[in-house]
Symmetry: C2
Subunit: 440 residues, 2 copies
């Protein structure tokens, strides 16, 4: 007998079989219909949202969390609706030819973009995310099983019910293409459904991502850590360095693309090192420095903001107004240090020397390698992807900020006219392959 | 303290850090040097190979295995050497720009192909494979830890020692970029080194692949099963069908791209179904048929070659002169059947109706979707990839026959001049992004 999770996964997988065959118009029409449906049911969705808010207040959740839950905050509902249309209007990611090759007369090979299959997407409590993910999944031809944070349960449920009804009544997209699951125990069962689920996308805390990576054989798209570094070269512009470091650390310290450690070339002058560290202290950042910096370089004392590095200071994601700083001999050592300690998310060099910059860009093994700009640019919207599915520190499949492309795979189509291999060399015959690239 | 496996993995990973920075000329020069070195040491390698052969004979291994071990067989040594030069002469896969975008004045984003990192490659006993894999790894800028079948141990060891010495003495490629490991126990320890190893590529039996997939968190590129199907539509050409089915089944039944099941549209005439099944029997293929075919359609009896389908006949990789045949109502049912039962490797439709073909090509969720040609074309050399790393049934990263591209990832390079996010909308400022694609 199938478990509940297996049933959900089988239904999602078989809905994918139908979704995969729909045209871009049919998929985009479904998004328009969902948009219209959510708009028409705005009142009941906001009513459900108010129940979540009341529960949140009753349970004394933090004010920032309550703010995130609130779908009436600052036109959030309308921008959620607009987001669905924006995704509908993106270029069709399905069926793009990426290789076309004549193997022999009448035997042509094509590589075509295709959806991956069934996605399991686990996200936090911002209720508008469900609309965004639904839109991305349908647009890309993937079916999705969704699990949202329990704080937004009533809102998710109301929206999901509208979405299911709309899909079933007005569109060619099977309603099981988008399924909301409600309990955490179902998630752990679903993580075992590697026969039917092709990719897990967790959008939440690092701990959530790490736990999921440790408990499934299904590929996981995401990042458990964002340990980003900035290396300040000896040939650098102090103003740029301070501007970039302060932005990278303080613009949004909880972001995975915030900088966590600074490596300063040991030939940089004491004065300049003092200026860099002072600017961090002035921005109320706790700076963990090495003994060398503390004893031989720092010309000021500040017992609150200047602290010593700890054993794990260079393997740590502070996610707050804290940072680690050390000196390093040269760019080669900086590359080694970063390749060893960083989480391969985004790392930056500050230098005016192009050759040194190129060495760094070539040597660093991270999803993002930056020159003279803030690590905070590592973001799908800033990259112009229209949307962001997540940021990946994986080294296979999608890497860095992931747009709609990250939800795509490809297939090889081979079109012949009775061609068989035993007529070709290597398989018993004498015919040879043409292997001529075709225009596409 | 590091385990032996951890030490190997750390050394490979740090060798990758250097290999990643080398130019195509430096990598290709290393291949030329390996070619020259293996050529110069031909005598001692063949001597080691003879020890393996003697052991194989002593251990009464099969004659086909002994033939595979023999590096003196049919100019195998020379074609192995030529293979290294062929890989050296392939286009450089590293550093290709695949996206270039102006984010704002002076702030440009580039997506650049880059090697994945450290590969663990587990392969069988054909001794020439070690040269091929070494060439592919170095050309693509990846470091590799290699484990070959124990039957070729002496040959592998002799070749590996030549390769290490050549790398250390004559090239910029660190010798730890290619490491041979010798015991199976090291493999299981290495499968735990997910911090340092980025991709496992098993090239061997399905059981090996399945075991590895079940015992590591590292992504595995490969296929555990090759359950390929052919669907014969009602509007079809009988001669083409028979030709393609016989080739797909009998050209090399042990191949993962051999067909394992035939679905015949139930509107196909009894005569034609008889012809198809008769042609299989004539080719000495055991045909497992449904009761419907056996009782109502077959006009001949053959107790050796005509057998009944079993419970698992449509979920099974025969890998031999055996096949399962059933009738199916229409192309939609065929698509459903295949998406449920196939291993998403390669599936084919035989039809003269273009619309039906397109429905099938669009609906089937496999790496290869074929129209009127043998499933045996699913192969990197036949696709013109110059080389084949393996065939993947994964749905993320590389899919189908995998060439050098499958060993590549990418990185985002962002080049600015003091740009910070807090000056842009959404992060506290008022500047907007340009997002203009650049020529490349």
């Amino acid at each position: 007998m199938s478990s509940a999770a297996e049933t959900i996964a089988i239904e999602a997988s078989s809905a994918f079989g139908i979704l995969k065959t729909l045209s871009n118009d049919e998929r985009s029409f479904a998004l328009q219909a969902i948009h219209d449906g959510l708009k028409a049911h705005k009142d009941e969705i906001l009513k459900a949202n108010r129940v979540d808010l009341e529960n949140a207040i009753k349970n004394e959740l933090s004010s920032s969390l309550i703010k995130r839950l609130n779908l009436e905050d600052k036109g959030k509902f309308d921008s959620m609706l607009q987001g669905i249309l924006d995704v509908a209007n993106l270029e069709d990611p399905v069926g793009k030819i990426t290789l076309a090759r004549k193997l022999d007369d009448g035997l042509n090979l094509y590589r075509i973009t295709a959806p991956i299959g069934t996605l399991l997407i686990i996200f936090e409590s911002r209720p508008e995310v469900i609309a965004n993910i639904t839109a991305l999944a349908i647009k890309s031809g993937n079916s999705a099983i969704l699990k949202g944070g329990k704080e937004s349960y009533q809102t998710f449920r109301a929206m999901s019910s509208v979405i299911s009804n709309i899909l079933a009544e007005k569109t060619k997209v099977p309603s099981h293409a988008i399924q909301l699951i409600e309990s955490r125990s179902e998630v752990s069962d679903l993580l075992n459904q590697d026969k039917y689920i092709d990719l897990v996308i967790p959008r939440g805390s690092n701990e959530l991502v790490r736990n999921i990576k440790n408990s499934t054989k299904i590929p996981v798209l995401g990042h458990a850590d964002g340990i980003c570094s900035i290396y300040v070269d000896e040939e650098f512009d102090l103003n740029k360095a301070i501007k970039i470091i302060i932005d990278s650390k303080t613009n949004y310290p909880a972001g995975c693309n915030a900088v966590e450690q600074i490596l300063i070339n040991s030939k940089v002058s004491k004065n300049q090192i003092n200026s860099i560290i002072k600017s961090l202290v002035d921005a109320k950042v706790i700076v963990h420095v090495t003994d060398e910096i503390k004893n031989d370089i720092l010309e000021f004392k500040d017992e609150t903001y200047i602290q010593s590095v700890e054993d794990d200071s260079f393997d740590k994601e502070y996610l707050s107004f804290e940072i680690a700083v050390t000196l390093i001999d040269n760019v080669d050592k900086a590359i080694q240090h970063i390749n060893y300690h960083s989480s391969k998310h985004t790392d930056c060099i500050i230098t005016e020397n192009k050759e040194t910059a190129n060495k760094f860009l070539k040597g660093i093994d991270s999803a993002g390698v930056y020159w003279n700009c803030s690590t905070r640019f590592a973001d799908g919207f800033r990259y112009g992807f229209g949307t962001e599915v997540g940021i990946s520190t994986n080294k296979i499949h999608a890497r860095g900020p992931v747009g709609l492309e990250g939800l795509m795979s490809y297939q090889y189509q081979l079109k012949g006219n009775g061609h068989i291999v035993s007529e070709y060399v290597g398989a018993g015959g004498s015919k040879t392959f043409v292997h001529e690239d075709l225009e596409y």
